[in-house]
Amino acid sequence: MTVYDGASWLDEEAGRLVRPYAISNGRTIPTQELDLLSMVMATGRRDRAQLDLEHAQALDLCRVPTPVAEVAGRLRLPLMITKVLLSDLIDTGAATARPPGSGANMESRDLLEVVLNGLRRL
């Protein structure tokens, strides 16, 4: 049996020391309907000091509207765990979300033209 002495395996390569599903307290079903590109933004109505580390980190990433996928990527967490964390933030009023494309009021053709013009400017 291997006995870990604690220090030797604590490095960058070791990655996350807390299992992702422990972060979400074992929950795998988010309470909010969130898509990969649902935009989440902090409301400023909750003090981050009251949150645990992962929730606070997720909230920090949402100071400007940020899609779920990007929060997951930056926190290096699986998508589903990220959705659970973000759902918690939305449920408590700390953040708000918009499904992808909503509020756009844009015809798909106009949207495509915006994207095309943007690509041509690169």
Partner: protein, 194 residues
């Protein structure tokens, strides 16, 4: 930029394009080359039992697989952000993952002319879903350059599907392939004034 959360219109629009193709064809390279940020990655669990969603209905669900998703970002204007998702190359499961393909503007199918069969599945998938796509022939060093029409015949592509040459390691080339895709999507979209 100042966002006011009380106004739905204050949220920028995020749109996605899928970068598909077989394993090892250069999807990750492509995403990394054109992205304005260091590409990000996340993992999603897909279950065969719940095809169509990525929700786990219970721990006892059968045939779950974890797919890794690489993605990058291009801000095309202050209000519109394009996300590029590389589809998981080794896993056939992603085809059942609606969340990835739903709402996608379109797709770039990267193809290696030495292994054209590797992109059959992606071409089939986008045709069946009615998602607009083009085929970008990734020009690897030393690869035999095929005539685009030979490729069209081999892939049994409809005449309207564009085939472009692309070097996934070159930003300008990757962006040009994306622009060609959007031009193609525009030709397939009825002008709103009609």
């Amino acid at each position: 930029m100042d966002y006011d959360g009380s106004e739905p219109s204050s949220f920028p629009i995020a749109v996605k394009v899928l970068i598909a193709g077989g394993f090892g064809v250069g999807k990750t390279t492509f995403v990394g080359t054109v992205s304005e940020i260091e590409p990000l990655s996340t993992e999603a669990v897909i279950t065969e039992a719940s095809a169509g969603t990525d929700n786990l209905d219970g721990v006892a669900a059968k045939s779950t697989t974890t797919v890794a998703l690489d993605f990058g970002r291009i801000t095309v204007d202050p209000r519109t952000v394009l996300y590029l998702f590389g589809t998981p190359g080794q896993e056939r499961f992603w085809f059942m993952w609606n969340e990835l393909s739903e709402g996608a503007l379109g797709a770039v199918v990267l193809a290696d002319t030495r292994r054209l069969d590797a992109c059959f599945d992606a071409v089939d998938f986008f045709e069946r879903r009615g998602i607009g796509f083009l085929v970008a022939l990734n020009e690897f060093d030393g690869a035999v350059r095929y005539d685009p029409e030979e490729v069209r015949a081999a892939l049994k592509l409809h005449s309207h599907v564009p085939i472009v040459a692309c070097d996934a390691r070159d930003r300008r080339s990757g962006v040009a392939a994306l622009a060609a895709l959007v031009e193609h999507l525009l030709t397939a979209t009825v002008p709103s004034s009609l």
